[in-house]
Amino acid sequence: EYTKERKVGEGTYAVVYLGTKQSSGRKIAVKEIKTSEFKDGLDMSAIREVKYLQEIQHENVIELIDIFLAYDNLNLVLEFLPSDLEKVIKDRSILFTPADIKSWMLMTLRGVHHCHRNFILHRDLKPNNLLLSPEGIIKVADFGLARTFPSAQEILTSNVVTRWYRAPELLFGAKHYTSAVDIWSAGVIFAELMLRIPYLPGQNDVDQIEVTFRALGTPTDADWPDVSFFSAYNKLQIYPPPSREELRRRFIAASENALSFLCGMLTMNPQKRWNAVECLESDYFKEAPAPSDPFSIK
């Protein structure tokens, strides 16, 4: 039923091919999971992809069309998504407008909201995991680090989310974090879309803390109760949070509501950080310009 015509990518645990679903002629991507590499049987990332994509059906989340075993390999048949936001940001020949950015953020947050209302954390949101369909629709992809919301006493690893998009509570080694970590990532992506360069590009995990707090201010117990509890807190350089004026200058094209939207997602204290519903219902999406029609975005 499925062909593998061209290899388009290779990761640690999978090789991705372009192909066709014979019965419908639909273009597909086949993610072939390598099984020999992992001495403990099937790779955890593969198990997570299978587990969560089986449960999620949403226009802004990549569709898992089928799964099959062949020659001892596990094959995920996914919808074909030719581009991603990282490519769009990097390609200087592509001009995009604030309306385009708003459309991409709206679709991204709808996909993230659907995961969160199904109590699933993505834990690796970044521009190249936000894929674009031929119709310009954003699809959240790569659930290799996803997991369900933890039960209350469960300990979570803080070693998740690609560094530049990692929330401050993760940088501090938090073990009981929430879906707020995905919202932080979305905030950094929003900043990057406006700047067209990475917003918080730390060289390494320690530098990431430095870069984050230099840009957004070092949190204190006043605005983030018990942040000083984290052992990594004591060695911190103290930076003042940027004034509104400084933010205006930094994000020259952003409206006041866009800045508030950005600050809501990049709120240091995860308990106070906006959740997906607050983001989607924010004034940023209600004011002009309206989000572009995805199909019209070049």
Partner: protein
């Protein structure tokens, strides 16, 4: 829940479930009888009359009921081994779930239960983010590494790749909260705590029955609550879904019941819950 793979792939009517088990058994019987014929034909010269007679009398495939008994016996072993490994309740439940679903797709005559028990626990741990390396897992369970890994793919395939299980434990916590809201001030909290623990145990036992295929997790939870304290559960459901309580509460009560435009008919719900509790009993 209706979007979940648990509902889409693993919920049946009793008739469908029985039909499925009959088919799985029939397929195995057919292939075994074929194998036996081939075996005897290939040795027609060697085997004497009596030996052939013995084979035909002894090598008799098990029927569907016998299969089910064997599967249920081993499902309890899965529970025992998983609990002995001190795995969290949810992971014990997922192990049992994986094991029982596997035998809705395979016959014990094709893959004997003993061979798959450890693989179901191993995959449940991985799937629930409770990763145990194969070496330490086999050390703890005295399992054979190759065998545990060998069945991981067949198990995953038989599960139709549906790994996310909704168990009745979180609904129990949810009802524990909502009962406090709806019956506010009318329930003894230490008594509720006592019930809660007993219900958790009953839920784990309920996962060994076919209730998991016929009812949704919250329905199983309500059935277990009904078994633990019928009066309390009935009162809660009446207040929650009927709202025509004798001492009609004020607006605040109405709000706490979250009635809104609830579309659940109490009598229908009570029938479902009662049937479910009978099955679990």
């Amino acid at each position: 829940f209706r979007h979940s793979s648990q509902y889409r792939f693993w919920s049946f009517t009793p008739e469908q479930l029985e039909q499925r088990r009959i088919e799985v058994n029939a397929q195995a019987v057919q292939s075994i009888e074929q194998d036996l014929r081939n075996f005897i034909d290939a040795r027609s010269t060697e085997l004497n009359e009596e030996e052939i007679k013995t084979i035909e009398n002894r090598a008799v495939p098990v029927n569907m009921e016998e299969e089910l008994k064997l599967v249920n016996l081993y499902a309890k072993k899965v529970q025992t081994i998983a609990q002995r490994l001190n795995l969290p309740t949810e992971i014990v439940a997922t192990s049992i779930t994986f094991f029982r679903r596997f035998y809705l797709e395979n016959s014990v005559m094709k893959i004997e239960p003993k061979a798959i028990v450890l693989t179901t626990i191993f995959l449940a741990c991985k799937s629930e983010n409770y990763f145990i390396g194969i070496d330490s897992f086999c050390e703890k369970t005295r399992g054979d590494k190759e065998q545990v890994l060998k069945y991981e793919f067949p198990l995953l395939e038989s599960l139709k790749f549906s790994l996310l299980s909704h168990h009745p434990y979180r609904p129990l916590h949810g009802f524990f909260l909502d009962i406090q809201a709806v019956l506010h001030g009318k329930v003894d909290l230490s008594y509720m705590g006592h019930i809660y623990d007993r219900c958790k145990k009953r839920i784990t036992d309920a996962l060994l029955t076919d209730a998991v295929y016929f009812y949704s997790p919250p329905q199983i939870t309500l059935a277990v609550l009904m078994l633990e304290d019928e009066a309390l559960t009935t009162r809660y459901l009446e207040l929650k879904f009927h709202g025509n309580d004798t001492n009609q509460g004020n607006a605040e009560d109405e709000a706490s019941r979250g009635n809104g435009n609830v579309t659940i008919q109490l009598d229908k719900l009570m029938k479902i819950v009662t049937n479910c509790s009978k099955l679990i009993e």
